[in-house]
Structure formats: structure tokens, C-alpha cells
């Protein structure tokens, strides 16, 4: 965190100053380790084993916050008889369909709900990363569930969880992670001792945690610990993601993703959502409990914001204009499709995939096979000049004179040269003023899209074609100002907030959204940010002038609520768990929920409320069900659906690993998304043959001195000079084994690429003894490329493309490689070297490793295991 988020890290240092103890778990000793009280080196890719060890420590010693767990989680819920745990098989859960390498989830459901809830079509969901729909709400559960309040029933979630993690002992943590068990126990003790009625602990991760084939399950394991310890919905608790750039939270709320529309409404699928009715029903799940039941109002209001007067109840509010998904359109599928000539044009906005994305060579070959490419960036980046100066030009794979892609480079304004909002990890929107005018032709994104749309509409104005109506009917009437007709960013914020279509009055809360077309809302979860016609995100009332929750600094979605599920900060009867952790509570006199924050609960629903039989929507949740966006109102220790690769996290090895999985016969995540393509070979891992060809583990991350793919730092002298060359960090032991010298050259080889780097020999990396053998790990910064003041080979070129099945995020923190002293070859000899490694590793082009490890037994999926399910 000190490396990648030094500004945020000041609060960790502040906590340390006040006596907090800082643990740092990392494959390499970083600037964070330097100021931590305890540094725990770990084998990269074994976080579930480590965190699973913490779960086991909590359950084996009964250290969970029992009243919280019993009342607010699904610990007591009884799971179907059909469920078979991965522990009782070879590492696969019940319901696995070998034909699609995905699960049918019927057997994972709560008892009695095997056929009427959950999603059976996980293969199809994987194609569209449908798990992301659950970012703002849980998956559906119907009706009432069976519970055992004593937690003794062998099929209650608590007992299943206990059995599942029973083997994740301190000894196993040491064996899998290479972490001495005494050190592990120190960590587990500190975490649990700092949680409970009087204390809370917060789990903060950075996006490197997501970049694994089991990334979602990493975070699930963290969430399970936090739920067991009562650290969710209470002040000082939570699970927070530190994003890699400003406003990454904002770019999922109002998404730059292929599968989502604003406010986590799913992008419609051509076959599954043929009508507006089918689409809305898919979102709201009629008959379900919880707050997602009003989806029709959000969906209708979004279409009204897009198409204004043209959107009417008669034409389903122009639902037909919305683009449709046909399958996987994720960034990596697209790159492979570019290579195969299926995609003609591409916009790149503030992104540098030639350096920043996994498998840089595939990225560059794809972009070299387009008709046109538009690049908007602050500087001339590698993704704009790959056709002229990229490594593939040197190897003869791209010939500049013949490269068919026409590249348009458009200079962009930086964040200080335009106004708008950033949304950070707490869902807090903060308005930015423009500090200076952008230089020369540089323009804001808002300017670019507004005028692009304006010009397209002008060109199509006389078009009689029905297909052009979607563009021509758009509301595209933003006021502009200044010499270059810059659109008014506050007008856009007002549209995002939503308004009454008759009066233009800005809405104050998303509860005002209507399904009849009388409201237009650009992003329903942001409604209230422009309440009363005031830019609430621009509020900057100083801390000393308000209470510690600081509700008048910026604006947080939803409803300016600073903490989600804060009903959990009070006990089931509505009283604060402790004075010290008082936050939101039930005021019996005024019969309302009250407190320091906006209660995340129906304010007049008493703690004693019990839903009548058959109640649906919010009324279906009891007065002590704090997780109001979950269909059963409970925090899910066990996820009967919504997560495609298992109801419980399970340690699998990374897609490329030199180790056999010490816990299960199944080696890697069986549902991981793989692409069989000649450009995308995968290094073999045990028990496949020839894994020793790539004997070392490499991991990549950031240096404080540079920013992501380097476009904003390698181009700036005061930053470039601080880390002026690409390097690889190795332990003294590995340097001796591989014959590397400090400040000498080395080259690293994977089945995709060979890159070179200067060697830094440092004690900050340690070989780990894991399961009876020594694992050497190397570390590389991923900032370098061939443009800018300082240049170097790109670490991301080493990676292949293998994705997490839930969210289609690439495994770009771990791979295997070989390392050799000296510089890499150039020209054709470079390709020959990689080809030689591929041949020695026995890699057949265009194939993928087996999803299910040979010899692993596949459990039948119970009565619903028909491969398609009933979702």
C-alpha cells in the first residue's frame, strides 16, 4: 500500500503512531514492509490458503462474534442434502459439468430451494461476467429458509464452513504458503483480538488481489472472516478496495464495462432478454425479497434519460434501441477477435494496453489488424505507436509500411484541466474544479464524446434508416460554454441524478424514480447527488465543523449513506453493540432508526418486525435482517449462487505454477476462463509434463515512482529519473543459482515472450521452502515500454490470457518463467528462442491445459444436474 497508495498510506502511519500493529503479507519486502511491525513473506497465489487458515483459526477456537454471526449471517441456514463439498471430493464441488467446465448450482442451494432459486446457467453467466451484477445486490433466494439456531445441524452453513476449512491448519498454511506457522498464528491472533463487540477491524485490498483466476474467491474469503468477526456494517470495519486509478469505482457505477449499464443494471442479452418485460423481470426477480424489487423504475428511468420524449410506454421506452450482448465481449476476447480479423475499429481512452494489459504481444498484434484506432491520451503512448516502434517491428511480425491500422491520436485533457467527479472506494463522489486550461488541442472526454455524438447526429440527420433512430432520438442537448463549446459537466451530473420529466425538478432520492416514464435518471444509485438542484458532491465543509462521519463532505451513494448495511452496527434488538462502536440504532421513543449516518434500513421498521408469510420485496425482510440488498437479508458466509466457481473459497494453484496443489487433486480453478488460440499458449503446470522448463515464479506490481503503464510518469522528467530503467528483483540465492549479477542484464522467458531487464540482487526477496521444496520468486515492475523518457521491456508481455470466471479479470500477478543471464536475442532469433521453449515444454499451439486435472472424480450435480439448470 505504501508503494502504490502512498497518500492513503498516511492513515496507516497515523494508526501506527497511535499504537496500531501493522502486518504486511507480500511475496517481496516492499516500502510497506519497511514500516510494518511484522513482515510475512508468502508464496504468490496462496492467499486463500492463508485466509482460509484464519477462518479455521476462528472456527476451531470459537472466536467468532457469535451473536452477530447467528443473527446477521446465513450461518444457521440449512443447505441442500445434494450438496457435496470440494473437501469430500478431489477439489470439485457437486454439480460440475465437464462438458462446459462450469457448475450447475442447484445442489448448492438452501434445503428445499434446489429447483426454485439460484442460477443454473453458470457457463452462460461466465461469458458475460454476470457475477458483476451482484456488485450492488446479492443473488436471489425465494421464500423462507430452514434454520438451526443452535448451529449444530450437520448441513447448516456454520458446520459446512467448519468442515470445509478444517484442513487449513497452521501446518497447512506453512506447507502451502511457505509462511512459518508461528508467524501465521501471530497474524490470526491479532486480527481476531482486534474484533468483536468493542473493537472492529477493516480489510483493505488493492486490485492486485482481483487479478487471479480465483480473484473473486480471494475477496470472498476476506469477507467470510469479516462476517465471522462482526466487522461488516460497523464503524471501523468493512472490506474496501483501493483502486488502481482515481474513480475506478465510478467507472463501474457508470460503467466502462461491456456487460453493465449504469447502476449495475445488466446489459440485455439478445436471446435471454428479447423484451423489456423479460429484461426487467430478470433484474427484479418477481416474488423475491429485498430492495431490488423496484428495478422496473430504475430501468425505465434510465431509458427515459437516454431517449427522452421518444421513450414511451407504448414502445417499451425504446428498449429496442439498447445494444444486446451476444456472448463474451470482454477486453481479452476482443483482442483475440482483432487478431482474427473480426473487429474493425477501436477506441482507447486513457488506456495503454500495449504495456498495461496481460500478453502485450497479443494486444499489439490485435491493434495492428484494425481498420482504424482512436487513441486519446495525455502523451504519445505505446498503444499509438506500436505499428512503428513496437517490439514486433523488430521481430518482423509487424511491418510499418503494411500495417493496415490507421491510428488517430487525439490529445486529452488531464484531471486538473477539466471538471467532474471522482468516486472513491467508499462510494464517495467528490467534485473537482478545473485548475488550468488544457494545452493546445487537448480536450476533455466530455467534450470529445459530446461533439462526436453531435457530428454523427448531424451526418445522419436525414437518414431514413430505422437503425439510425437510436442515435437520432438520443437526448443530446447539453449546454456548452467557452471558446471550444465545452459541455457543462454539472448538467451531466444533473441528468445522472435524475429529474421529473414534467417539471425538470431534480429528484432527491431513488425512491422517487417511477416506472411510468415520468422520471428520467441516468444512474439510479447516484440519485440525490444533485438534490435540490445543488451539486452535493462539491460540498467541502471542513471536518472540525461537523461530526466524525462528515456527512457534508462530498456525497456518497446511495442516499449519502457513508456505510452500507449499517443496521448491523446495532444488535438484533436495535441497541448499539457497544458504546464505543455506536453508529446507527433504534430509537424506541420516536419509533425510528437514527444515528450518526443515514440508516441503511427502512427507518420505521422496528427490530421486532417479522414478515407475514409470502411477503415479498422489502416487506419480506425482518426487522433484524440488516443486509437489505441480499434476498434473505443475511450476510453470506456461504454463497448458494452468485459466485460461479464455488459456494465457498477453495485453494487452487494459479493457472501457471511450479507446484502441485498441496490441498486437492484438482490443480487449478476448474472453471477458469481459457482461450484456445495460437497466440495464447499456457506454460505447463504439474501434473502436466515439462513444467520444469519454466521453474520460477514471477510476480509484478507497481513502484511508487511510476503510474500503471507509465504514460503519465515515464514521460515526466522528475518522475522518470527516480526509476530510470526496467529491472528485475531476485534474491541472492536465485542470483547464485541462475548466474545473475547485480546491475547486470537478465532475460526472462515464458511461452509468450522473452523480455530483458537489469538485475537488482536484494535480500528483499527470499526463496521459500514450500511443501518440501524451494520456490524462487522474482519481482518486476510493469511500468516500462518503448516510449517516453525512460524505456524498457514490458513485464506484462510475459503473461498469457487466463481469466477469473466471475468477472473475466486476467491472472496478471503470477506466472512461471525461466531466467537467464545476459541480454535477450533480437530479431528472428528472439522468436526462435521462445519457440524453442515452447517445443521443450511440449506446448501444442491453439490448445489449453485440461480444466479438470486428469484423474479427478466429478461429482454428479444432484437431481438438477442437467447442464443447463433452471436459471
Amino acid at each position: 500500500m505504501a508503494e502504490a497508495h502512498p497518500v492513503g498510506f498516511q492513515w496507516v502511519m497515523e494508526a501506527k503512531r497511535r499504537g496500531a500493529k501493522v502486518f504486511h503479507v507480500d511475496p517481496r519486502f516492499t516500502r510497506t514492509s519497511a514500516v510494518a511491525d511484522a513482515y510475512l513473506p508468502i508464496r504468490a497465489g496462496t492467499d486463500i490458503a492463508l485466509l482460509g487458515g484464519v477462518v479455521n483459526y476462528i472456527l476451531a477456537n470459537e472466536l467468532d462474534f457469535r451473536e452477530y454471526v447467528l443473527a446477521y449471517t446465513n450461518a444457521a441456514t440449512i443447505v441442500s442434502d445434494d450438496f457435496v463439498d470440494a473437501e469430500d471430493a478431489d477439489g470439485l464441488f457437486s454439480g460440475f459439468d465437464p462438458a462446459t467446465n462450469s457448475y450447475v448450482q442447484d445442489s448448492w442451494q438452501y434445503a428445499g430451494h434446489e429447483r426454485d432459486s439460484g442460477s443454473g446457467r453458470t457457463a452462460a453467466e461466465r461469458e458475460t461476467a454476470a457475477g458483476m451484477h451482484h456488485e450492488s445486490h446479492g443473488a436471489p433466494v425465494a421464500g423462507q429458509v430452514d434454520r438451526d439456531e443452535t448451529l449444530q445441524h450437520p448441513r447448516c452453513v456454520y458446520q459446512i464452513l467448519k468442515r470445509h476449512f478444517a484442513r487449513y491448519t497452521p501446518e497447512m498454511v506453512e506447507r502451502v504458503c511457505g509462511l512459518p506457522q508461528e508467524r501465521f498464528l501471530e497474524l490470526a491472533r491479532a486480527w481476531t483480538e482486534n474484533s468483536g463487540r468493542e473493537r472492529t477491524g477493516c480489510l483493505i485490498y488493492s486490485v492486485g488481489w482481483t487479478q487471479h483466476t480465483v480473484g473473486v474467491q480471494y475477496i470472498r474469503t476476506g469477507a467470510i472472516i469479516q462476517l465471522l468477526l462482526g466487522n461488516i456494517g460497523r464503524p471501523g470495519g468493512g472490506v474496501l478496495a483501493l483502486r488502481g486509478h482515481a474513480s475506478i469505482q465510478g467507472s463501474t457505477d457508470i460503467p466502462t464495462l461491456f456487460n453493465l449499464l449504469p447502476g449495475y443494471l445488466p446489459m440485455p442479452h439478445h436471446a435471454r432478454h428479447p423484451t423489456f418485460e423479460a429484461w426487467v423481470s430478470h433484474i427484479r426477480h418477481p416474488g423475491q425479497k429485498g430492495f431490488w424489487g423496484n428495478a422496473r423504475a430504475y430501468a425505465t428511468s434510465l431509458l427515459k434519460a437516454y431517449w427522452g420524449d421518444a421513450a414511451t410506454p407504448e414502445n417499451d421506452f425504446c428498449y429496442g434501441y439498447l445494444p444486446r450482448l451476444t456472448g463474451d465481449h470482454g477486453t481479452y476476447r476482443q483482442v483475440l477477435d482483432m487478431i482474427d480479423g473480426k473487429i474493425r475499429g477501436y477506441f482507447l481512452l486513457g488506456q495503454n494496453p500495449a504495456v498495461g494489459s496481460a500478453h502485450g504481444r497479443a494486444q499489439r498484434l490485435g491493434m495492428a489488424n484494425l481498420d482504424w484506432l482512436v487513441v486519446r491520451d495525455l502523451f504519445m503512448i505505446e498503444s499509438a505507436t506500436f505499428w512503428q516502434r513496437g517490439p514486433e517491428v523488430a521481430t518482423g511480425e509487424i511491418v510499418p509500411e503494411q500495417c493496415r491500422t490507421e491510428v488517430f491520436f487525439l490529445p486529452a485533457a488531464s484531471h486538473v484541466e477539466k471538471e467532474g467527479t471522482f468516486t472513491q472506494t467508499q462510494r464517495l463522489l467528490q467534485w473537482r474544479e478545473k485548475a488550468v486550461d488544457p494545452p493546445a488541442d487537448a480536450r476533455s472526454e466530455l467534450w470529445f464524446f459530446y461533439h462526436l455524438g453531435r457530428k454523427l447526429r448531424e451526418k445522419l440527420a436525414d437518414s431514413p434508416l430505422p437503425r439510425d433512430r437510436a442515435l437520432l432520438d438520443l437526448t443530446w442537448d447539453y449546454p456548452t460554454h467557452g471558446r471550444y463549446a465545452e459541455p457543462d459537466a454539472e448538467a451531466v451530473l444533473r441528468e445522472i441524478n435524475g429529474y421529473d420529466t414534467a417539471t425538470g425538478r431534480p429528484l432527491s432520492a431513488f425512491t422517487e424514480a417511477r416506472a411510468d416514464g415520468t422520471t428520467a435518471v441516468g444512474c439510479w444509485i447516484y440519485t440525490g447527488v444533485y438534490a435540490d438542484g445543488v451539486n452535493q458532491a462539491a460540498r467541502r465543509r471542513p471536518g472540525p465543523e461537523q461530526d466524525w462521519v462528515a456527512a457534508e463532505w462530498g456525497w456518497a451513494w446511495p442516499a449519502n449513506r457513508r456505510m452500507l448495511y449499517n443496521r448491523a452496527s446495532a444488535d438484533p434488538q436495535g441497541r448499539p453493540w457497544s458504546e464505543r462502536k455506536r453508529y446507527v440504532w433504534w430509537d424506541a421513543e420516536s419509533a425510528r432508526w437514527t444515528g450518526h449516518d443515514v440508516p441503511d434500513f427502512e427507518v420505521t421498521k422496528p427490530p421486532s418486525y417479522r414478515p407475514p408469510a409470502g411477503a415479498t420485496g422489502p416487506a419480506g425482510l425482518a426487522g433484524d435482517d440488516p443486509f437489505v440488498m441480499q434476498a434473505d437479508g443475511k450476510g453470506w458466509l456461504y454463497a448458494p449462487s452468485g459466485v460461479l466457481d464455488g459456494p465457498l473459497p477453495t485453494h487452487y494453484e494459479p493457472a501457471e505454477s511450479p507446484m502441485r496443489n498441496p490441498l486437492y487433486a484438482q490443480q487449478a480453478n476448474p472453471t477458469r476462463k481459457m482461450y484456445a488460440h495460437p497466440v495464447n499458449p499456457t506454460n505447463p503446470s504439474p501434473p502436466q509434463e515439462h513444467s520444469q522448463v519454466f521453474p520460477y515464479v514471477f510476480t509484478v506490481s507497481r513502484l511508487t515512482e511510476h503510474h500503471t503503464a507509465g504514460g503519465m510518469s515515464r514521460t515526466v522528467a522528475p518522475l522518470a529519473e527516480l526509476q530510470p530503467e526496467m529491472f528485475v528483483e531476485v534474491s541472492p540465492e536465485l542470483a547464485a543459482v541462475a548466474g545473475l549479477n547485480h546491475l547486470g542484464w537478465a532475460h526472462l522467458v515464458s511461452a509468450r515472450a522473452v523480455i530483458e531487464a537489469k538485475v537488482l540482487v536484494t535480500d528483499r526477496l527470499v526463496p521459500l521452502r514450500v511443501d518440501g521444496r524451494v520456490i524462487h520468486q522474482l519481482w518486476l515492475p510493469y511500468h516500462f515500454g518503448f516510449e517516453g523518457l525512460v524505456t524498457g521491456d514490458s513485464a506484462n508481455d510475459l503473461f498469457g490470457i487466463t481469466l477469473d470466471p466471475n468477472v473475466l479479470i486476467q491472472e496478471s500477478k503470477i506466472g512461471t518463467c525461466d531466467v537467464r543471464p545476459g541480454r535477450r536475442p533480437t530479431g528472428a532469433a528472439l522468436r526462435d528462442l521462445v519457440e524453442d521453449y515452447r517445443a521443450r515444454a511440449g506446448i501444442v499451439p491453439g490448445t489449453v491445459p485440461p480444466a479438470v486435472t486428469p484423474g479427478v472424480r466429478v461429482e454428479p450435480g444432484g437431481p438438477g444436474g442437467d447442464g443447463e439448470g433452471n436459471g
Binding site: A34, T704, E721, P724, E733, V761, D763, R769
Partner: protein, 329 residues
């Protein structure tokens, strides 16, 4: 002279008296003396201070060189680097029974590692168990990575100031020492006069440059750029009296928390430069960070030398006079 017999704590009154250097320099009603307290125990090595300094002061690039000195690619305080973050990798001790240390020269980690040059049974491990397993001082977990943002010390008795023949270097009303670039003639006397090796002449320019403690900013009531940018308050700016109190309290806290190695550097008005305007909390000996353990103002002996020279001249004159007088006799 009031110094002790060996001259260690000499305080040459003629050139730079102890006390309020601004007043001594002739400022009337000077504001309190301002300075930096750099607490290295909370430094995270982000180098924001280096970048902020360059941006605000328009300091040119110091070169694009990978130095291999841990994460330090700045190397030293120079005319083109007025803040310098040092990174010190303190190795784990070589494990018992391991072969000779690896040749990792250049890292500053002599004796840092165990390798098996020539051994065929090398397993890459310094000991039988995982690192840190033994819980002894031999474990790799004892590795430390020290970071420290160095800067001009703005000495109470500033050698650079004493020797400047043009008056380009002057004592500000805040008690800091600043070069006026429009007056400096590039003679370079100050370079050899600095006991810390801070002030430096810029190649191609010839003039001497160093930290001004952001004279332009503090005069306008602002915090110097480096301290403003520091995310962890490792660099603290303020009246020197307050900073010294704060620093003493911080050292006491660290001692209480089991860090007896915490100590102050440059805070003592009785040291060889009369105390620094920019002082530090260190976690090891000053030499580890590349700082002189006992800095002395280089002009310390000048009065004595001049007196002796004067005495010698007097004696010579007297002798010469005596010779003439004697001759007459």
C-alpha cells in the same frame, strides 16, 4: 574562546555566534527561527519530497541513471537534487554454517547473503527452516529497509556562509541559509566549506545551488514544498524550538515502544555546527545514512588561525623592528 580543551565544541564567536542566527546576522525583530524535523521512522520512501522540490524550485533533471543502490537513483544531494531519499537495505545476518557471502557489491549489503559458489548441494536456503522460523537474530525477518530524506542542514554556524566572498549566501530572517543565484559568481569556496557535502556547483552553469528551505514560500506563510507533499509527516516544518520539543517527545515514545535505536541527529546546539536548522530522527548510526557522525563547521579554526597569523606577523614585525633597533645599537 569558550570551547573545551580539545576544541570539539568550540564556538567561534567572531564568525557565527550561538543563539539566534538571524539576529546575529543583523535582522531586527526577526521571526522565530524556522526549520525541518525529518522523522525517518515514518518515512515510506515515496520521494514525493524530491519531486515537489524539483517542481516548485525548477530544479533540472539529475540524470537518468539506474544506480543499483536499492531504490535510490538520486545518489546524493547535488546542485540538481535538493532533497535526496536514501534507501538503506540492512541485510539479515548470514546464517550459521552457510558459505561465504555473495558478491553483491554495490548494494551496500556486504555479508548479506549466503550462496553456494561451487557447491552442488545448494538448495537456495540459508537455513533448514523457512525464514524467520528460528525466531533468532539470524532470521531473514530481521532485515530492515531504512529510508531517510536528506536535505541542507541550514547550520547555525554555516561554513558556506562564512566563506562566501560575494555575499551571495546570506542568512535569512528565518535563520536559514540561502544562495542568491544572481550574485553567486561560481567561485566554489562554499562547496569545500560544507561539512555535509550539500552545496554543489551545477555543471554548465557553474553557480552553487542548494535547498533554500523554500524562502519564497515561507516568506508568504506557506510550508516548504517537500514538507507540504510528504504524506506521512516524516518531514515536519515549523519553528525550530517547537520542532525540537516534538522530536524529543517522539524519541521518548519510540524508546517506550521498544526502539532504543531511535536517536536525534543535528538537534544539539552544542554540536560542531551549533545545531542544524534541519535535523533528523534516525534509527541507526549517522554513518549508516551517509551522514558525518561529528560534523564541524569548517571555519571553526579560522579565528585561532588568524590570531596565530596575527601573532606571527606581530612577532615578525617585532623581530624585524628588534633587528633594526639592535642594528642601531
Amino acid at each position: 574562546m569558550t570551547g573545551d580543551p580539545d576544541g570539539r565544541h568550540a564556538t567561534p564567536p567572531a564568525l557565527a555566534p550561538v543563539g539566534d542566527p538571524a539576529a546575529e546576522a543583523g535582522w531586527v525583530d526577526a521571526p522565530p527561527r524556522m526549520g525541518f524535523f525529518t522523522d525517518t521512522s515514518v518515512c515510506i520512501g515515496c520521494k514525493a519530497c524530491e519531486v515537489a522540490c524539483k517542481e516548485w524550485n525548477g530544479v533540472p533533471s539529475a540524470g537518468l541513471d539506474l544506480l543499483g543502490m536499492s531504490y535510490d537513483n538520486t545518489g546524493a544531494l547535488t546542485a540538481n537534487s535538493w532533497r535526496h531519499v536514501a534507501f538503506v537495505e540492512q541485510p539479515r545476518p548470514a546464517a550459521a554454517g552457510s558459505p561465504a557471502p555473495a558478491p553483491t557489491a554495490g548494494l551496500g549489503t556486504a555479508g548479506s547473503s549466503s550462496t553456494a559458489a561451487g557447491s552442488t548441494e545448494f538448495l537456495g536456503m540459508p537455513a533448514a527452516g523457512p525464514p524467520g522460523r528460528t525466531g533468532s537474530a539470524d532470521g531473514r525477518s530481521d532485515f530492515r529497509w531504512l529510508m531517510m530524506s536528506d536535505v541542507c542542514k541550514h547550520c547555525t554556524q554555516a561554513g558556506c556562509l562564512d566563506v562566501c566572498p560575494t555575499g551571495a549566501l546570506f542568512r535569512t530572517e528565518f535563520g536559514t541559509v540561502v544562495v542568491q543565484e544572481d550574485i553567486c559568481n561560481g567561485c566554489g569556496y562554499c562547496v569545500s566549506a560544507c561539512p555535509y557535502g550539500v552545496i554543489d556547483r551545477r555543471a554548465g552553469d557553474g553557480r552553487a545551488w542548494k535547498c533554500t528551505l523554500c524562502y519564497d514560500r515561507i516568506g508568504a506563510g506557506l510550508t516548504p514544498a517537500c514538507a507540504q507533499a510528504c504524506p506521512t509527516e516524516s518531514i515536519q516544518y515549523g519553528p525550530l524550538d517547537e520542532l525540537r520539543e516534538r522530536a524529543a517527545a517522539r524519541v521518548a515514545t519510540l524508546h517506550e515502544r521498544g526502539m532504543p535505536e531511535a536517536r536525534l541527529y543535528g538537534h544539539d546546539p552544542d554540536d560542531g555546527v551549533g545545531g542544524d536548522g534541519a535535523f533528523f530522527l534516525l534509527l541507526d548510526e549517522p554513518e549508516v545514512y551517509g551522514l558525518p557522525p561529528d560534523p564541524q563547521v569548517t571555519t571553526r579554526d579560522l579565528p585561532k588561525m588568524w590570531r596565530r597569523a596575527g601573532l606571527a606577523a606581530l612577532a615578525m614585525t617585532a623581530a624585524a623592528a628588534a633587528a633594526f633597533l639592535g642594528g642601531k645599537r
